[in-house]
């Protein structure tokens, strides 16, 4: 029943491989030959099905940013994101966030998707406080999450890299609660 000639499966295999490799290495250090090789298909098919390396990258980011937020209630967003990040082994570099971080080319659709991703997180976080500068506070909390991810994945910084997930989450949520506090409702 296996169909060796299956365009949909080929497209999906390419997307999976690209997701993994872009996440691990970033855009520049991932080659189309690597992607095709990991997917087990000829690299010309990448161009048949996605047009260009840029377009494939944009597809990866769009797919991930769409799926990233939809499974966490807002109140526990910070806690859940931190736990997920800390529970993965350090320097496991295929977290969606890292794909975005590692790819610092400023043109193309990637920039847009990157910003949208930030906007989504920040909007969710900013709903947690009624302070006047709620959005700025949300940005700061988002920055903390990003920074923790960077220190763990790019730097492999100890002791953070191998720290206990619950400990880190507790420390961060406690400090962040200073920013994300609700005053008494009117």
């Amino acid at each position: 029943m296996s169909r060796p000639r299956d365009a949909a499966a080929t497209k999906a295999a390419l997307l999976d491989a690209a997701t993994k490799l872009f996440g691990e290495r970033g855009f520049d250090r991932t080659t189309v030959r690597d992607i095709a090789s990991l997917a087990g298909v000829n690299q010309a098919l990448l161009f048949r099905y996605y047009g260009s390396k840029d377009a494939l990258f944009a597809t990866v980011l769009a797919t991930q940013s769409r799926a990233l937020l939809e499974d966490s209630p807002v109140e526990h967003l910070l806690r859940n994101v931190l736990l997920r990040m800390m529970e993965e082994k350090p320097r496991r570099e295929d977290h969606p966030l890292y794909a975005v971080l590692r790819s610092s080319h400023h043109d193309s659709a990637a920039e847009v998707v990157r910003r949208q991703l930030g906007e989504e997180y920040a909007r969710a976080l900013s709903s947690l406080t009624d302070a006047e500068d709620a959005e700025l506070r949300a940005d700061l909390v988002l920055a903390w999450v990003v920074g923790i991810g960077v220190l763990r994945s790019v730097f492999g910084k100890q002791p953070l890299a191998d720290a206990d997930a619950a400990t880190v989450t507790a420390l961060v949520t406690r400090a962040a609660s200073v920013l994300l506090e609700h005053t008494e409702p009117g």
Copy 2:
């Protein structure tokens, strides 16, 4: 008195150009031809004076990491680093931190220098608390600084990118003080 043939000046021009370009674009997206061109010298001289692109990059990082910490008293380190970071215009992408961040190749001397940089910051910060997990707390504060820099430079995230420096510094230092507190001495 101008000496057109001046090896020291040529070396310095190459180092300056490399510092600027690595900081703006990261390692991979900076070519030796770009560096030599900006320095106004023949690109073969880069290899005569530094041996390789990798070695030049390591020299840039070593020079910067040595100069980065030496002008801030420990108590105001967090505040000063934040202020400096926020007072620069957003997306000014030649901050030393960004050079390090943008260059995610894992071998070579760069990795070592990167870690040393983190260690220095974290050691300074960890002296600010006598909690048992002082180093972990320092890592988290360092992560926050890094994350803020990333959101401002890589993402250009609003409102953080154009936020008031004093406001951000106040918010962050207040929240971070939860982590960097001194209990009463013995």
